[in-house]
């Protein structure tokens, strides 16, 4: 009788031990699920915002009228630079800046005042098929490991210039 009671107790203790182990495994599984499920969602949104941002910046920037260069748009200045006419003066004054310098300065001011001011590192690179896919304008403000980019093609006659803006860090 005593032995029977002892066996029952052993059985109960074993069952309780198994229940405890199952509970601990479930809690551990819950933690693992929670920590694994959070990240993908955020990185997709951040990446999307970066590529939208770079596309919008390029579009707005290239539309800008450069008053000190015969009121040409920045797209026009890029077109001249891409076609090998970057040395053309911006006004009749022989001491005035040329098209390439003006395009570079305007681009730098606009991107520096927005992206750099908000702590973003960027790389801008403009190439031209007329110049054998050589870069005619390039600005980089830091090292760039991960990046999202936008491309803005500018039709030339003949050929195409491509302006690429990379926002770094996401």
């Amino acid at each position: 009788m005593y032995l029977l009671r002892l066996n029952k107790k052993k059985g109960q203790m074993e069952a309780m031990g198994l229940a405890i182990i199952v509970l601990l495994i479930s809690v551990g599984f819950l933690f693992a699920l929670k920590f694994n499920m959070g990240t993908t969602h955020k990185s997709v949104r951040k990446g999307y915002l970066s590529s939208e941002m770079s596309s919008n910046i390029l579009s707005a920037m290239l539309k800008t009228t450069i008053g000190k260069c015969r009121n040409y748009s920045l797209t026009q200045l890029y077109r001249f630079s891409a076609s090998g006419q970057g040395g053309m003066k911006c006004s009749d004054d022989p001491d005035s800046a040329n098209v390439s310098e003006t395009a570079y300065n305007a681009t730098f001011i606009m991107l520096n005042s927005t992206l750099t001011a908000s702590g973003r590192v960027f790389v801008l690179n403009a190439t031209s098929s007329v110049l054998g896919d050589e870069s005619f304008l390039s600005i980089q403000t830091g090292s760039c490991r991960t990046r999202k980019s936008a491309i803005y093609p500018i039709p030339l006659n003949p050929g195409t210039a491509v302006v690429q803006l990379y926002l770094c860090g996401d």
């Binding site: 107790k9 809690v27 819950l30 915002l49 919008n56 707005a60 539309k63 800008t64 000190k68 005042s113």
Partner: protein, 156 residues
């Protein structure tokens, strides 16, 4: 025999008590981690809301540029922007539905700097989230496009 039974029951109770304490500690840790995650989600949601407000503002017919009835994307008409603040004050309830509690400012970066407050409605807030989107600013007086940003601070 009685003593043995009592000791055995005491052991069982002790084991159960320690187990409950372990479970309670792990649940406290879990819920603290959850609370931090929820705070992060609220901040992300606020930031997304301020991006939405900026997109809504840039597409408003009362602000955007149009030429021959064709709207230009990411372009704000400067003359409209200068008058928008008084319009938003007169029609506060309509614009509250669009912009809620936020501060929307148009800031010109190139060629000259300039700033225009478009909408402002604030409340006591816990979270403030700021975002900006780049826009062209069309000046009809000189028929030129300038470069600027639309800054949105949303409060919640």
């Amino acid at each position: 025999m009685k003593r043995k039974g009592q000791i055995s029951m005491f052991e069982t109770i002790t084991v159960l008590f320690i187990f409950m304490v372990l479970i309670a500690l792990s649940m406290i840790f879990y819920f603290k981690a959850q609370r931090n995650d929820v705070k992060k989600m609220i901040r992300e949601s606020n930031r997304l809301e301020s991006v939405n407000i900026a997109e809504r503002a840039s597409f408003l017919p009362e602000l955007r540029c149009s030429f021959s009835n064709i709207a230009v994307i990411n372009c704000i008409d400067l003359l409209k922007a200068e008058k928008f603040n008084s319009l938003a004050s007169d029609e506060a309830e309509i614009y509250y539905d669009l912009f809620r509690f936020s501060n929307i400012t148009l800031k010109q970066v190139y060629p000259e700097e300039g700033e225009w407050e478009l909408y402002y409605r604030a409340s006591n807030y816990t979270y403030k989230s700021e975002t900006w989107i780049p826009v062209s600013i069309f000046n009809a007086s000189s028929s030129s496009f300038n470069f600027g940003i639309l800054i949105v601070e949303s409060f919640s």
